[in-house]
């Protein structure tokens, strides 16, 4: 078997490995986790580098479930865009897995449910990033949402359960809206395959309605402004590794699907220019509103949650700037840089919570001395979040700015420029305290596993070093962008 063929055969493994391990760890219960799960997670992560050559131009790998071709069967396909999403999922979930295994080693209720749900979530994400079918996408999106809701409520305490219920209701509303769009399209065109739909799509009111419904549903699922209100309580109250997965990956899943819809399935709709500007404006609103609320928070985790709302806003700038290649590069680097940085920061928040028993920002003075590696991780990830060079966040912002100026729509540049200032504000609210001498109300200090600290630091380092990965992302995206900017 030649190497590309072998790699193509590995594609479905990205879904089967976490899915079967999740089922196994559920059956085996406490005995299994995390010693069974962690190697599986790392193995899944290990599959990704083997797949990367496929993402290079001309290397697209297609896989037909059960050997059935569309429109009867469901196609999965790996292109540059998918590969980047899969890679970042693998990296973040490996970091989160290592963190969780070191922090949850006391065989408690949490760990029994945590691992099966985490693996289900990863399987759902990976399947979503591969699928080429609208209904299959719906199913994977549901798997992701339900696993995420369950993970939020895993501690069984009141605040997360309230937040989780809200999240559940919002996610269901989003699903319903998306499902309506799927039904409309199926009734009209009789197929749900991305590529087939793209070729037959008519520029008519039904198409517009379907797109609007799907977009609204995905806006809810991805907590995109102004439909973000469920996110801060859910991400702010969930356990640290769960918040990390949610902020880094789950909200990006909906965004990913939005890209597929707008730039592939519905690319034929000509009358979308105004709508794209509207989406860009939502992005600007997200940056301003999310950052302002982040600045007002007293505790670390809610601050990070609002920061996610803000950072998702930058992603939406792609819509009005999509004809410029560097906008795509910047957006995808931002997906990765924000994912790793935010995961690192939530893990760091979990460490500080464990070490000091609270995450009140005003009283974490002296954290630099208690947990220096974690402080370092917070700093590195924070630099990337602000978008200071040479971090991944900077690379993303630079490319977005170049796109704004090159397209002649320079006014969009105010969003990343101003957003950077606001982000600097809320990141340094945290860091300034960390450099302070310890104060009396810092609280007692409890030892934290070194491995957990290293996991957070590793993710932060990835985010920081992503600044140098711009060329790799550009090459990986070439084929996907060529296809998507053709319209």
């Amino acid at each position: 078997m030649s190497t590309p063929a072998f790699a193509a055969a590995l594609v479905p493994a990205l879904v089967w490995i976490p899915l079967s391990l999740g089922a196994l760890s559920f059956v085996l219960g406490r005995a299994a986790s995390p010693w069974l799960v962690l190697p599986g997670l790392l193995a899944t992560a290990g599959v990704v580098p083997a797949l990367l050559p496929l993402a290079a131009p001309g290397g697209i790998a297609a896989y037909h479930l059960g050997g059935w071709m569309p429109p009867l069967g469901i196609a999965w396909r790996l292109d540059g865009l998918s590969a980047i999403m899969l890679a970042i999922t693998a990296i973040v979930s490996a970091g989160v897995g290592i963190f969780a295994s070191s922090m949850m080693n006391r065989m408690d209720r949490q760990s029994e449910w945590f691992w099966p749900l985490l693996l289900l979530l990863i399987a759902g994400l990976n399947a979503l990033f591969l699928t080429r079918d609208l209904f299959n996408a719906y199913v994977t999106l549901e798997i992701v949402s339900l696993a995420a809701v369950a993970l939020v409520t895993i501690t069984g305490t009141s605040a997360p359960i309230v937040a989780g219920m809200r999240y559940l209701l919002a996610a269901l509303a989003g699903s319903l809206s998306y499902l309506l769009a799927v039904a409309l399209l199926y009734a009209r065109y009789g197929t749900l395959d991305f590529d087939l739909l793209a070729t037959v799509m008519q520029d008519d009111p039904i198409g517009m309605l379907a797109l609007a419904l799907a977009t609204a549903g995905l806006f809810i699922k991805s907590a995109l402004f102004p439909l973000h209100v469920w996110l801060p309580p859910a991400h702010g109250s969930a356990p640290a590794p769960v918040s990390a997965m949610l902020s880094a990956l789950v909200v990006k899943a909906g965004f990913y699907l939005l890209l597929r819809l707008w730039f592939e399935v519905f690319a034929a709709l000509d009358s979308l220019a105004a709508a794209r500007v509207l989406i860009g404006l939502c992005g600007a609103g997200a940056v301003v509103w999310g950052s302002m609320l982040a600045l007002c928070q007293q505790r670390l985790k809610p601050l990070l949650a609002y920061s996610t709302v803000a950072q998702l806003g930058y992603l939406l700038l792609l819509f009005p700037l999509a004809e410029v290649v560097s906008a795509w590069q910047g957006t995808l680097i931002l997906v990765c840089a924000h994912g790793t940085a935010k995961a690192a920061m939530f893990l760091a928040a979990g460490i500080i919570l464990r070490a000091y028993g609270h995450d009140r920002i005003i009283a974490i003075g002296g954290a630099a001395r208690g947990v220096p590696l974690t402080t370092f991780a917070l700093g590195l990830a924070g630099v990337s979040l602000i978008g200071l060079p040479p971090s991944g966040g900077f690379a993303a912002k630079w490319l977005l700015l170049v796109a704004a100026f090159e397209s002649g729509r320079w006014w969009w540049s105010f969003v990343p420029l101003g957003g950077g200032l606001l982000a600097a504000g809320y990141v340094f609210i945290i860091l300034a305290r960390a450099f302070e001498a310890p104060s009396a109300d810092t609280g007692d200090f409890a030892q934290v596993p070194r491995v957990a600290e290293l996991a957070a630091l590793a993710l932060a380092l990835v985010s920081f070093m992503l600044g140098f990965a711009g060329n790799a992302v550009a090459i990986g995206l070439d084929s996907a962008i060529a296809e998507m900017t053709r319209s």
């Binding site: 370092f376 900077f394 912002k397 540049s413 420029l417 200032l421 450099f435």
Partner: protein, 499 residues
């Protein structure tokens, strides 16, 4: 990788690598940390000496590191870069010796020296940056690396100073970023060392854009260069330890701002274009306002470090005035002040640090009779202060002489008046200190006296300012010789003006 790529990378890594290692050293491994610091500093100086000879012999050094799609990080050594690199490499060595003694037994030294090394790495990066993106990257790195030093003491006051510092520098960074991207989309190349004056040759229709870009960039660099009204972070940052003040005022931060403006005027716009658009006139006005404002403020301060801080505000704008006047002679004056002000100001701050560490003196009014107690320190202080006023044969005289001649050459008589007023003000805020120190009797016990063996203070605190004071005299006395900074600067200016 070719041999030509190695020296710029070595200059960068000789402080970057030790810095990164130092972060992870335990607090108590003093010797290893000091050894790393000193080896890095000495190695950097050695490489710089080799490069100096190479550039003198006509060699060119450049290196590039893959970074963004379509934009590499470009390091390149031209003679202007080398001027700044030599200054910061030399002063870093002095500063390292001083800082090791100054911070003996204080907490968080690994963190301190880690960021300290990062600062110097960022500074040499700024100096060697071959295009605007690279310049921006290192300029922002400098912001990140200096913040922890400003807040090093961990007091609420330090935190507030740090917040003000960040608000100004990050805000400036945003302006600079906008300007940089804009230039990138207008110009064919931003590699200003290959294409001198990358914006020259754009048509009339871009004039407004060019003016706006200039405002953005001068706004961005002006924050660190402490141009009025963007200077407010500088006096507040005085809460930091003395080695940090010296770093801010002489080696790294304000110099980085001034250097950035030099690059913008000479290499992004080119002398001709910035003159033709009237941009250099605007810069001259800004510099004049800053020179006068800083001097007047300095007069009013009783706190020694604050007085020195306002003096910096004023003195750095001499550099800007020099490059803003459309005259080669003024440019020589401005650029030589980049070096001379560095030498003099570092001396003053190190001496101020010595007074604080040894006698607990922080105010001018407490300095009566200090000359008798600490003759070497105060002698060094006096040399630097007289140089600042601009008396011959000290370094400051050379700068002012060329600035004055340049003012005459470009027909800007008002600039001569500004220089005169400013020199009088310099004298008015420095001479009273000298008279207190040397001619008044000690009025009471020193606020907090410590004694350190043989010398008037710790040897590690005493030698650095004495060395830089000697250098202040030397660059003034031997300004006419081919090895002086002045003759190097003449060559730089000849290139920029295409003489």
């Amino acid at each position: 990788m070719s041999n030509d790529a190695l020296p710029p990378l070595l200059i960068l890594l000789s402080s970057l690598l030790p810095g990164l290692i130092i972060f992870f050293l335990p607090e108590k491994s003093v010797r290893l940390r000091t050894a790393l610091n000193l080896c890095g500093a000495l190695f950097k100086v050695a490489v710089v000496i080799v490069v100096l000879q190479g550039v003198y012999a006509g060699l060119e050094y450049s290196a590039s590191v893959p970074f963004l799609p379509g934009n590499d990080l470009v390091l390149r050594i031209d003679s202007l870069a080398l001027l700044f690199v030599t200054l910061s490499a030399g002063l870093w060595l002095v500063m390292t010796v001083y800082a090791v003694s100054y911070l003996e037994d204080s907490p968080n030294r690994s963190r301190f020296f880690g960021f300290y090394s990062l600062c110097v790495s960022a500074t040499v990066g700024i100096a060697m940056a071959g295009d605007l993106l690279t310049l921006f990257v290192f300029y922002e790195l400098l912001t990140i690396a200096t913040y922890p030093l400003v807040v090093h003491n961990g007091t609420p006051e330090a935190r507030r100073a740090g917040t003000v510092y960040l608000a100004f520098t990050i805000g400036g960074g945003v302006l600079l970023l906008a300007g940089t991207v804009w230039v990138q989309t207008l110009a064919v190349s931003t590699n200003f060392l290959e294409v001198a004056g990358v914006l020259e040759g754009l048509g009339q229709e871009h004039e407004t854009a060019l003016r706006l870009i200039f405002a953005l960039m001068v706004g961005g660099f002006g924050v660190k260069a402490a141009v009025v009204p963007l200077h407010q972070w500088l006096p507040r940052a005085m809460v930091a330890p003395a080695p940090v003040s010296a770093l801010l005022h002489a080696v790294a931060v304000v110099k980085a701002g001034a250097f950035g403006i030099i690059r913008v005027v000479y290499d992004v716009y080119g002398v001709e274009l910035s003159h033709a658009l009237g941009l250099s006139d605007a810069l001259a006005v800004l510099a004049t306002a800053t020179i006068l404002y800083g001097s007047f403020q300095a007069l009013r301060q009783d706190d020694l470090k604050l007085r020195l801080a306002y003096s910096t505000v004023s003195q750095v704008s001499y550099i800007l005035l020099g490059i803003a006047l459309y005259s080669p002679l003024a440019s020589i004056g401005g650029l030589s002040h980049l070096v001379h002000q560095g030498l003099m100001k570092i001396t003053l701050f190190l001496c101020a640090g010595n007074l604080g560490q040894t006698l607990g003196i922080h105010k001018v009014s407490e300095m009566n009779g200090a000359g008798a107690r600490m003759p070497w320190t105060m002698a060094a202080f006096s040399v630097a202060a007289l140089g600042m006023i601009g008396l011959p044969p000290f370094a400051g005289f050379i700068s002012k002489w060329y600035l004055g001649s340049g003012a005459v050459q470009s027909g800007a008589g008002w600039a001569l008046v500004v220089l005169l007023i400013s020199s009088l003000l310099n004298a008015a805020y420095f001479l009273p200190i000298l008279s207190r120190v040397w001619f008044r009797k000690q009025t009471g016990p020193w606020p907090e006296e410590k004694s350190f063996g043989r010398f008037e203070t710790k040897a590690g605190l005493l030698f650095p300012p004495v060395t830089t004071a000697i250098a202040t005299v030397a660059v003034g006395l031997f300004a006419g010789t081919p090895v002086s900074p002045l003759s190097w600067i003449r060559d730089v200016v000849a290139v920029e003006y295409r003489l």
